[in-house]
Each structure stands twice: as C-alpha cells, then as structure tokens.
C-alpha cells in the first residue's frame, strides 16, 4: 500500500530501492500523489535551506567559547593521514575549481553544470561539463558552511587527487552488485601508490533515478589545517551509466 510516508521517503531519496518502481508508478498515475510528492520535495528543500541558513550564522560569543571548549575534548579518532595527506599541493590550475566550489558551498547550489579538475597527458586542467542530466535540479552540492576553514584548498586538493573519469569507469559495471556497507576498491591510488578504498553507504532515489552514496572509507586530510574531512559522492544512473551528481565534504 502506498501511504504518504512512502511518498515522503521517495521524495527524500530514502525509500528502499526495491519499492521504487511501485511508488513511482503510483505517483505517475495519481495526480494527488504527484502533488503530495512535489510538496514533500518542496518542504524538504525549505527545511534544508532553513537549517543551513541558521547554521551559517556566527555563534554568539558565549556559545563560540563553549564550542572551543568541547573541540578540545577529543581530536578526531585515529586517522591514517599518511596515505591521504595532500596539503601543500596547491596548483594554480585548480583555483577556478576552488572558487566555483566555494560559491556552491555558500549558496547551497543546485548545479546543471558540473565543474571538475581533469588530468590529461599534457597536464592538469579545469573542465566544465554541460551534461544533459535529467535530474540536476534536485541534486545538491552540499557542504557545511564554515568560516574558519581553508575550504578552497581542501576542494582544490580533493580534485587534484580524485580522478572522476577513472572512478566512474571503474565502478560502472560493478557498483550495482555491491551491498550496503560493502567496501570496494577502484584503480585510484593515493600518493603512496596504495589503492583507495570506498564504501557503499546507501541507495536512494532522486527524481526516479537510482542513486548511490559512496564514501571514502576514511577521512581525507585535504589541507594543512584539515584534521580529517569525510568525503562522500552521490552518483546517479543516467542513461544506463552512473554519473557523479554531487560531492559532499563534511568535518
């Protein structure tokens, strides 16, 4: 039975994959359910914006002081930074990417152009792809706004390290066979030549497209000041191939 919680889950991208088809058909055939689905999408976005806007405000002094106290309680849990230490690798070619990504982070950006760093034989370059993806309006580039972080450097170094074409090529044929929480490798290697491991975190739906959230299996140290950034990738199947729809950085 399709009740409103199923519609809400579908709109939020949290409905189990095996139920997608049934819910999708119900929405397509019933205008009331379609309206409900649209409303859930709208309220989901409104709440997300509300939360982000509140969090983007500076804390009052007394709360900031308390935040500083609890920060000293515990450093992030044991992290093997050696493999993922990319600070100090900034290259001017990536400045454009960094600036663009910072704008995305601050604005809670909905992208229909995907900007990326790309490694070519002649060197590194910045590319902007106008992809004909059916769902970009609902796919988000999310990150927690922080005023004290060297975000541009972190984003820059992530792109220096992460070759999205190679990643997509590697996972396209295998990712559908993975179970949630299953770890997997691609041909991507870190600076020490060690294979980078990923984790399939969840399956979700974005506007009827099958999507997956994939996480780097350990925090990345993306800048000198970075104490560890959790990086996840949202990838969606579009025209039988997976594409990266968003990259999420959080501390």
């Amino acid at each position: 039975m399709i009740d409103e919680t199923k519609i809400m889950q579908y709109a939020d991208g949290t409905l189990p994959v095996e139920e997608h088809e049934e819910v999708k058909k119900a929405i397509e055939s019933d205008p009331k359910l379609k309206e409900l689905y649209n409303n859930f999408q709208k309220t989901g976005d409104l709440l997300f914006k509300l939360g982000n806007e509140i969090k983007s405000q500076t804390l009052p002094k007394n709360l900031q002081e308390k935040a500083n106290i609890i920060k000293t309680w515990k450093k992030p849990e044991a992290k093997e930074f050696g493999s993922f230490n990319f600070f100090g690798l900034f290259k001017i070619q990536y400045a454009g990417v960094a600036a663009a990504c910072c704008l995305m982070f601050v604005a809670g950006f909905y992208a229909d152009t995907f900007i990326s760093g790309k490694n070519t034989k002649s060197g590194n370059e910045v590319i902007a792809l106008n992809q004909s993806i059916d769902v970009p309006k609902d796919l988000k580039f999310r990150g927690m706004p922080k005023q004290d972080e060297d975000l541009s450097t972190r984003v820059t170094n992530l792109y220096r390290y992460f070759n999205q074409d190679q990643f997509i090529q590697d996972i396209n044929s295998t990712i559908d066979d993975l179970e949630i929480n299953e770890e997997f490798e691609t041909s991507l290697e870190d600076n020490d030549g060690k294979r980078v491991k990923f984790l399939l975190v969840e399956n979700f739906n974005a506007n009827g497209n099958n999507c997956k959230k994939v996480a780097f299996n350990e925090p990345l140290r993306l800048s000198e000041n970075d104490q560890g950034t959790d990086v996840t990738l949202d990838i969606c199947k579009i025209k039988n191939n997976y594409e990266i729809s968003s990259i999420n950085l959080s501390k």
Binding site: T14, N39, L47
Partner: protein
Amino acid sequence: MKEKLDENFVKSLVVIALGIVKGKSDPYELVNGAMEYLISNKEKYMDHPNIKAIAVLKMKGLFIDEIRKNQKLSSMTDNEGNDLQVIDEKQNDISERIGLKDETKKVLSAIKTMGEKCREILMLAADDLSYKDIAKNIETPIGTVMSRLAKCRKELKGLVA
C-alpha cells in the same frame, strides 16, 4: 555514529532549540544551558554515543523550567496586590536576530505557529538528521517519526503556500 564536537555541533543545537522554544524564549539560552551542562559533566558525556540526544533532552528540560518560572512570576503580586509585570527583554523576533532571509524567515515563522511535536520534528529535520537519528534524539519509534514528519510537512506546506 559519534558526533563531532565543534561549532557545527553547537549550531545544530541552535537549529533544534528553535523547534523547542515558543513565544519569546531565546533558543541561544537553551543551547547555552545545555552546553554548560555538558561541559560540567564532561567525564560522563564526552564519549557518549549520542551526545546530541543528551543536549536535546537538557534543552527541553530547561525550556520547561523556564515556562514554570514564568508561570510562577505571572501569578505573583506586588505589595499592593498588583500583578507583577514580567519584563521580557527578548521581545525581538528571533528570526530577526538571526538575520534570516525572507523565504526562510517565513518558513520559521510558520513552524513557530505549529504544535510542539511538529516544531520539534521539523527543526530536527532542518538539522538534516535522518529519520533514524531523529528517532534516537526524541526517543520515538522510527515509524512514528516518519508518519509525524509527513503530517507536519503537509501542514507546513499549507502554511507557507
């Protein structure tokens, strides 16, 4: 999953506090009270697997205390038998103080007109918590969380339409 304790944790509490307070109460004061509580009980909570739920519970307790205090004050009279006027310095709308944009201000104002359960669950959702984490924070079964959230979101849509 353990919370990372930093300013984003505190900012999360501000979002959630906005769902707890009503009227002229100050969400920052609730957060401050909860943070003081956590800091003074550091040994007990620093490794707690769900420290946010502890903070949420504390904020609710503080809010109830505040209501009781205000009720007590409003029932008091001065020497001549006149009702005591409680001077409230927090008259300003909190969304003005926070400096929200018009659209989000409208959403927050709408949420503030809703019942306690809806305010609470919508602001937990605004904190971008999963249904499961919302359920943990308010100690409610996940099925109840989902049906309540769906109902409250429908109500919210009606209010902001």
